[in-house]
Structures are given as structure tokens and as C-alpha cells.
Amino acid sequence: MSMIGYPLGILIGVITGYVFMLFFQTVIASSKVKFSTIMKVSTQLLAMPTFWFGGPWITTKFLQSVNFAESLPGYLVSLTLTFLLLVSWPLSRFVISVGNQVGKAQRRKK
């Protein structure tokens, strides 16, 4: 099993995790987002697996000497864990802030 899969998965996980959070914040931060913008962002999100499993990086000269099939298990695990770790923290902060706002509004009503 090739060891290059692990750092590669971490790198791609960091890049796509950061991009996901940028898309997320673009839509969440503004209340005046149009439906077409949401569709565009969703399409871009759907393009992520193409980048994960066959982005331009896979055909570069550097990786042509690497057997991708051999490094796939390490790549998949490190990609999944890095992406989840990166995305979970801002998402949990978002859920906490939504909960705080909903709780405050409900207490104000009572």
C-alpha cells in the first residue's frame, strides 16, 4: 500500500472542506441570496466528488509515477476524516447560534 494517499487525502480534504465552508457562509451570511445563486452554489458543491476522485491534480506529472489504486485506501480515509473534522466545528457553531436565537425568541414570547 502506497503511503502517499494519506497526505494527499489530508491536502484535498483541507482544500474541499475550506471551499465547502466558503459556499456555506456565502449563502448563510446573506438574507438576500437569489434562488439562482443557490442553484449555482449547489452545482459547485456537486462538482466536489469530481475533484476528489478525478480532479486535475490526478493527471499531473508528479502523480503519474504513483499508482493511485494502491494509495486509494489511505487517501479515502484521510480525506473523509479531514473533511469531517474541518466542517464539523463551524457547522456545530452555526447550530449553537441558531439554537440560541430560537431559544431567546421563544423565551421572549413566554
Binding site: 438574507s31 441570496v33 485506501p73 479515502l76 469531517l84 457553531r93 449553537i96 441558531v98 430560537v102 425568541a105
Partner: protein
């Protein structure tokens, strides 16, 4: 060929993430933020049917007037399911329903627990919450 352990880790990761996104979509859904409309049988069957129709109509109106954050999270939810289907078809991963559903419920349950605690005021965002504050979460409470 990918080992079953690695296959399970990746499927669990996807399930966990889909559970989180589903919980976020539900927590910013306007319907969720108002008083719960409980259906009771004490008014008879006709009363129950009327209540159910009223509740369904209100829910439909709420969803129709939902903000972009709700639609974004719903798109993200369906998008993630589409991504998972594509990955299962085009990668060497094999679907493990047990692991997937367990991870999905874990992700959903964990974030639901966080949401409930935050709603009760027992948890607050460690940094400036205004950076992440969803505009229509407060709008929908009015």
C-alpha cells in the same frame, strides 16, 4: 480492492455528514421555530382531520416562505445523497447500510442534542456568534 474497515469508515463519514446537514435543515426550517401544533383526538375524528389539514396548510406556507438558508441546506442534503450515490457507483466503495444508517442517526442525534442544549441556553457559541448567525432563523420566529 478496499478493505471492509476502510469502506466502513468512509461510508460512516458520509452518513454522519448527511445526518448533520439534515439536522441543520430541520433546525432552520421555520415550522420548527414556532409552537408545536400537536394533534389530539379529544375533538373527535372530524376535529382531528381539521387540525391535521390546518397543520399541513401552515407547514406548506412555512416551507414556501422559507429563507435561502433553508433551501441551501435542503439542496446540500439532496446533493450529498446524489454525491454518495455517484461515489458508490464510480468508486470501489460498497454500500454498507447498517454503518451508514447508524452514522446518520449518530450525526443527527449529536447535532440535535447540541441544538436542544443551545435552545435551552445551556450552550453558547465560544466565539462571536454574529459571524455565523443565520438571518432567517430570527425572521421566522416573528
Amino acid at each position: 480492492m478496499i478493505s471492509p474497515l476502510i469502506n466502513s469508515i468512509v461510508i460512516a463519514g458520509f452518513g454522519f455528514f448527511i445526518g448533520i446537514v439534515l439536522q441543520i435543515a430541520m433546525s432552520i426550517m421555520p415550522e420548527r421555530n414556532r409552537e408545536s401544533h400537536s394533534l389530539k383526538f379529544n375533538k373527535g375524528l372530524q376535529g382531528f382531520i381539521d387540525d391535521a389539514n390546518k397543520s399541513a396548510k401552515e407547514s406548506r406556507e412555512m416551507v414556501q416562505t422559507a429563507g435561502p438558508a433553508f433551501w441551501m441546506s435542503m439542496f446540500a442534503f439532496y446533493g450529498l445523497i446524489a454525491i454518495l450515490i455517484l461515489i458508490i457507483i464510480y468508486s470501489p466503495l460498497v454500500m454498507n447500510w447498517l454503518v451508514f444508517l447508524l452514522a446518520l442517526f449518530t450525526g443527527f442525534g449529536l447535532f440535535e442534542w447540541i441544538f436542544t442544549r443551545a435552545k435551552a441556553g445551556k450552550m453558547s457559541s465560544p466565539s462571536n456568534p454574529s459571524n455565523d448567525s443565520p438571518p432567517e432563523a430570527s425572521d421566522s420566529n416573528q
